[in-house]
Amino acid sequence: MSARLVPPGARELPALTDLRLEVRAFLADQVAAGAFVPHVDTWLTRWDRDFTRELGRRGWLGMVIPTEYGGQGRTYLERFVVTEELLVVGAPVAAHWIAERQIGPSLLRYGTEEQKQAFLPGISRGEVVFGIGMSEPDSGSDLASVRTRAERVDGGWRLTGTKVWTSGAHEADAFFALARSAPLDPAHRHEGLSQFIVDLRAPGVTIRPIISMGGDHHFNEVHLDGVLIPDERVLGEVGQGWSQVSSELAYERSGPERVLSTFQLLAAAAQAMDDGRLPTDPGLGRHVARVAALHHMSFAVSTALEHHEDADTAAAVVKVLGTTGEGDIADYVDTLTASGWALDEELDTLLHAAILQRPGFTLRGGTNEILRGVIARGLGMR
């Protein structure tokens, strides 16, 4: 046991900073040109295929995909700074988010050569858009309870079941679906699961919107009615779906999108305090400090992942603190804001969006209750 949950820090060197500044300058130009309006939680809510393709053209997609598959062959650390810069400016990155974060790395690790050739170049160009199909009705945080069935048929599998909370499925080309390829053994619930690459335009796929409480359509129910998946679209090993999915969790949980979803609101609040539209209050400094510390912590985790060190617990720490902080920023700015006092369109728009998105921050990708259990396990308590 060690009380040290998070790997030692590292200092960013000029080669990384130069990349950061290059991305930052491009994004400032884009904002100035009106190519996008900065917003909150854009990795879920702002979908722009043109912008995504432009990033691909500039070499900022497929960052960790080797060049032989059309990627950039760069490091997780370089991807980290690109990701941070995209998020803080509130750029529309939803279209490539899932592919860039987890589909690409999963294909690299578990995909066949044919699968890599089929998908990675398109992902790196921002042309192939992926979703992810994990959750099911009533599964919640208990992913092992998925009930989507994969039945063996000649030359492949037939998938039947329903996936929910599939963000962007109505716009995406394909998704990874976790399904039960062998009957449930209650004593070994994590066995008998497999991952499949599903073409979302295949026969038998029906996509229905789930409208969020603010009236927006980001999520979907994806019904799979005997969808035929050829053998060459099984990802990795049949029956190893659980361990494949689990191995990606540190990447999924420790990224800057668990810290920066409301950064544009924080920045607008800093401006409003400077302008006298919000009262000066030490809470701003407190939140800025936490974001800065999480930036360091998230970077430390990326460094560890780059070195192939185990960082599951550290990733859980980043996600718990980061997503809590994202939501606290929304609530904090809300407590400073008086209705009827002054009209601040930009701040109001960001604040309302942040409040409406907030409940998801500490639920998606593993609830904070589950993750605090993961941390307790990392501390040797379970």
């Binding site: 008086a338 009827g340 006092w341 409040i355």
Partner: protein
């Protein structure tokens, strides 16, 4: 033994009234449409409330009101908020109707909202403005407070919506219409902000109590890892916390309502009492909204779920009639002015100084 009735007076609303309203809103809840992101006035419900005398509950009987007091009115606001009923009870009766009476202006019963235009005649975030037949305006004019009852067709309305999706419009008055406002007593101008703040507190507490019920029902029913999630200690503590904060907000609000009712708002401690309510309600809102959505999980973020019909108005209303920060600053000023020796007197009487009167800051709701 001392007679208990000489020591403390319970302040509970008329049980018959509560019974009627409970039935009414249960019926409303059972028959209303699925939730929407944009919320408009429910004129049918308004008419039913009107027929029961609820839309002018606190108006004088001589002017067509029901002659009720703040204790009953707060109960009405809370029950309506728990049902997420889109009706301007606070604006129309407790604020608008009251201002008309204070100004001696006639009240035809037509739906009203209220606001405080700035010197250029503009008022921001005027709830339900587009739905009103007239807007009761209150403003300060060279140390005098004035009231006018302006027909809707005399104002320009820019339609906007608040976080709850309700109309919360920008209203621009013709300055001519404001010129001949009726002068009202100084205390009216000062009370307006407090009455608005306390009405909002009563609404938020009512909605939070309903949130606790929704959460309890969910955690008993929803199963994960093979048992109801309410069996997990973490969920139990989370729910205990939101229920406790709601109870504290209720205690603070009831105390302010009781003081208002007993003194007909003349008690100099009303600023403190309303501040305590607004502060406790506002901080409770942070805990309750976050905790409820966390307990409900993704399903609670969907448009069709009841939860957001409560949590969105909770947050929208806690920032009306002063932000949470404004009220904490007001209380800080009162507490530091009371100082070491009178802090407890402030808490028990609401008075920071032996003879104090203090205006709230930023009182331009």
């Amino acid at each position: 033994m001392t007679d208990l009735r000489d020591l403390a007076e319970p302040t509970t609303p008329d049980p018959d009234l509560v019974g009627v309203l409970t039935d009414l809103f249960a019926d409303y809840r059972a028959t209303r449409a699925t939730p929407t992101a944009v919320v408009d006035l429910d004129r049918d419900l308004w008419q039913r409330l009107e027929q029961l005398g609820m839309t002018r509950l606190t108006g004088r009987e001589s002017s067509g009101g029901s002659g009720g007091g703040w204790v009953d009115a707060a109960a009405l606001l809370g029950l309506a908020a728990a049902a997420a009923a889109p009706v301007p009870l606070a604006e129309h009766d407790l604020l608008g109707g009251w201002l008309l009476e204070a100004a001696g202006l006639p009240n035809d019963g037509g739906l009203r909202t209220v606001c405080r235009p700035d010197p250029s005649g503009v008022a921001l975030n005027v709830t339900w403005a587009r739905d009103a037949s007239r807007i009761v305006a209150l403003w300060e004019d060279r140390d005098q407070w004035r009231v006018a009852d302006v027909p809707i067709d005399r104002v320009a309305i820019e339609e906007r919506r608040n976080l709850a999706g309700e109309p919360s419009d920008t209203v621009e008055f013709d300055l001519d219409d404001l010129e001949n406002g009726t002068v009202v007593a100084h205390e009216i101008g000062e009370q307006f902000h407090l009455r608005g703040a306390l009405a909002r507190s009563a609404q938020v507490v009512g909605a939070m109590e309903r949130v606790v019920e929704v959460v309890l029902a969910h955690v008993r029913e929803r199963e994960q890892f093979g048992r109801p999630i309410g069996r997990f200690q973490a969920v139990q503590h989370l729910v205990a916390d939101i229920a406790s904060e709601t109870a504290l907000a209720r205690a603070a609000t009831d105390a302010a309502v009781a003081r208002a009712a007993a003194s007909e708002w003349r008690d100099p401690g009303m600023l403190f009492a309303v501040g305590v309510a607004k502060s406790c309600v506002g901080h409770a809102a942070s805990v309750v909204v976050r905790g409820a959505h966390q307990a409900l999980g993704a399903i609670g973020t969907t448009l069709e779920h009841e939860l957001h019909t409560l949590t969105r108005p909770i947050l929208a209303r806690r920032s009306e009639y002063g932000s949470l920060q404004d009220w904490d600053e007001t209380l800080t000023a009162l507490a530091s002015s009371a100082g070491h020796d009178r802090l407890w007197t402030l808490i028990t009487t609401g008075r920071a100084k032996p003879s104090s009167g203090q205006r709230p800051p930023h009182d331009n709701a």
